[in-house]
């Protein structure tokens, strides 16, 4: 079996990239960071998805690693007002994350277990269906995206989302209180938003194109967040889904969330 010119170039290119990444890899190697599974192409996927192992989450011990990493990576400020706050990833009590799946005699640990919630990047996203300008749209690989420059701020998508995953910039995020956001913008490589537009988790598409895992996944020391391609049978998410019982939020609505939970 010969190697085609195209494949040769591909392998050569990746090898070169690997050489360049070696020093960076060395820095992180000691931390034992999660990586893409063997044979998984980091930049592209048929269907990006995430499995959240709620048993491993240490939020109850005060761990906020994934939340802080995400909000710092995406310049999400603390607006200092819980009614109008902006959040891409946060925790909810079990009964709020999974309404109607709770009951009085729930396992003690589960009852008080915080559940990480974020945009579900639905197969059939109601937010995309209702947007009057296509400012929110679904990509081929399943990521539900926002165009901050096209959004007119009608908030139809917020009414449509059954998971409360969308935030609106009620005020100007660049003018969020300085004392709460001393180093805003925290990531100069990611855009800040203007007032009057909706925003939400973007599955770190800006990191995926660079071959990196989402910020929250990378930040979790417990490896409670597993990320990968549902289209690849050998991906980490597929492996975990094969071997564990998982549930999704509000499956009866037919939205088809791409976030799976191990409880």
């Amino acid at each position: 079996m010969g190697v085609s010119r195209r494949n040769f170039l591909k392998i050569a290119g990746i090898s070169l990239l690997g050489l360049g990444a070696k020093p960076a890899y060395d820095v992180f190697a000691g931390r034992d960071l999660p990586e893409f599974a063997q044979g998984e192409e980091a930049r592209e996927a048929k269907r990006w998805a995430m499995v959240i192992d709620t048993r491993k989450c240490r939020d109850k011990d005060g761990c906020q690693d994934c939340i802080l990493a995400c909000h710092r990576a995406h310049n999400v400020p603390d607006v200092g007002n819980s009614r109008q706050e902006i959040k891409w990833i946060w925790t909810e009590p079990y009964e709020n994350a999974f309404p109607n799946q709770e009951h009085e005699f729930l396992e003690e640990t589960l009852k008080h277990r915080p559940v990480i919630v974020l945009c579900n990047h639905c197969d059939d996203p109601p937010c995309v269906r209702v947007c009057p300008t296509k400012a929110t749209f679904k990509r081929e690989d399943g990521i539900v995206m926002m165009d901050y420059h096209r959004c007119i701020g009608c908030r139809f998508c917020m009414a449509a989302c059954p998971y409360g995953s969308r935030s609106f910039n009620w005020g100007d995020p660049r003018r969020a209180p300085k004392e709460k956001n001393p180093d805003f913008p925290t990531n100069p490589n990611f855009p800040t938003r203007t007032k009057g537009v909706v925003e939400k988790c973007n599955f770190c598409e800006e990191r995926l194109v660079a071959g990196l895992l989402p910020a929250c996944v990378e930040a979790c020391k417990e490896k409670a967040l597993i990320f990968g391609d549902l289209g690849n049978p050998d991906s980490d998410v597929r492996k975990v889904l094969r071997s564990h019982y998982t549930i999704r939020r509000k499956p009866g609505l037919g939205t088809g969330p791409a976030i799976y939970y191990i409880v």
Binding site: Q84, E85, P99, P132, T133, G171, G196
Partner: protein, 385 residues
């Protein structure tokens, strides 16, 4: 004809000036909202639509008054309504103008409004709402103006306007239907997720619009030399009677389905509105007031003796208007968002700037209404109608 609006009594100008002051106050607070963002409102991530969208929804209903006079006159040849079709059509113009303004003041990025046209998206109901509302505004301006001009010149209206009039009848139904579809197609909102929402919008519209029209007719009779007519007012009263009863029936259908099925996502919203949830119940007295006002109105309207007395009828119409306003202008939107899809109860009440902006928009609507009614009534007086 516009010149008719430029001459008037001291009282007319006093009214115009008070409206302009109201608009000025509202506009200055809108400038504040424009610079600061919607954070000056009482809305938040859980209740992301508030007073503005609620007023818009209610006023879509008021715009219905036009079809309730146009349909009997043009389709059933009910001659008496020929005298007041113009009042219905011009009320629709004022109401739809307010609807459009309420959508604009609710936008986070109003200067990007035309993105809706630049990137037309037929799968969004908001796209269709833009089409039906603007279409309805256009139809009523053209029809009202052309028919009134013809009446002034004592000629029959041009034949091309007839198809537009017939078109305006189903079009009126469409504005309520499409507005209801904004809400009743959303998966996670049990309060709105009901097939009766559009029919209920129509019934409450056909109650509140004609009720307001009756009040306007009584005011016109008192203030001008034009009498809209006792028979006309009585026929409108019968329309209001049927519509408010139908609205009550549809409402009870909703309550039965939600409460008897005991499905939490549907039931909790009614519990919140009428009894309060987790110690939160800011709307409870309002919702019961709405019910009591509707019951009072039905008693006064259903009884011929009270309905025929115009002073009692006026009370009944105010009760209908107030009841439907509370129902749609306060309860419908908040009730749909509370509790949130995650089960949180975050209450909503408009802030003062928000209320003043809303009042300013109402002021614009009443200014348009006043000017158009001044023209219509002056011409009616001129031809000795």
């Amino acid at each position: 004809m516009l010149e008719k609006a430029l001459t008037g009594s001291q009282r007319y100008w006093g009214w115009i000036i008070s409206l302009l002051i109201l608009i000025g106050v509202g506009f200055s607070f809108y400038l504040l909202q424009f610079t600061e963002g919607l954070k000056i409102t009482g809305m938040g991530r859980d209740v992301s639509w508030g007073f503005y969208i609620a007023q818009f929804t209610f006023l879509v209903g008021v715009a219905a008054s036009a079809v309730m006079v146009v349909l009997p006159y043009y389709l059933h040849n009910y001659k008496a309504f020929g005298r007041i079709t113009i009042l219905g059509e011009f009320l629709a113009v004022g109401a739809v103008s307010m609807c459009l303004l309420f959508i604009i003041v609710d936008l986070g990025q109003p200067i990007r409004l035309f993105n809706v046209l630049l990137h037309p998206t037929p799968n969004s109901i908001l796209f269709w709402d833009m089409i039906v509302l603007n279409g309805y505004l256009f139809l009523n301006i053209v029809i009202g103006w052309v028919v009134l001009s013809a009446e002034r010149n004592a000629v029959s209206p041009p034949s091309w306007v007839k198809p537009l009039i017939y078109l305006s009848i189903p079009w009126a139904v469409s504005i309520h239907t499409v507005t209801a579809y904004l809400y009743c197609g959303l998966p996670g909102r049990g309060f709105w997720l009901t097939a009766i929402l559009a029919p209920r919008f129509l019934s409450s519209a056909f109650a509140s619009g004609p009720a307001f029209l009756i009040i306007l007719c009584l005011i016109i009779r008192r203030l001008t030399r034009f009498d809209p007519g006792r028979e006309q007012i009585q026929t409108l009263a019968k329309i209001v009677t049927y519509a408010i009863i139908l609205n009550g029936f549809f409402f009870l259908c909703e309550v039965f389905t939600a409460m008897y099925s005991h499905i939490p996502e549907h039931m909790h919203h009614f519990e919140y509105l009428f009894f309060g949830l987790e110690g939160h119940g800011i709307l409870v007295p309002w919702m019961w007031a709405s019910v009591l006002l509707a019951v009072l109105a039905i008693i006064l309207l259903i009884n011929p003796a009270t309905r025929r007395s115009e002073s009692v009828l006026a009370v009944a119409c105010v009760a209908v208007f107030a009841s439907t306003w509370i129902d749609k202008g306060l309860g419908l939107i908040s009730g749909g968002f509370i509790p949130s899809p995650l089960g949180h109860v975050t209450e909503y009440w408009p802030t003062l700037p928000e209320a003043l902006i809303a009042l300013g928009v109402w002021g614009v609507g009443f200014l348009i209404l006043t000017v158009l009614y001044k023209i219509a009534v002056s011409i009616k007086e001129e031809i000795g109608a």
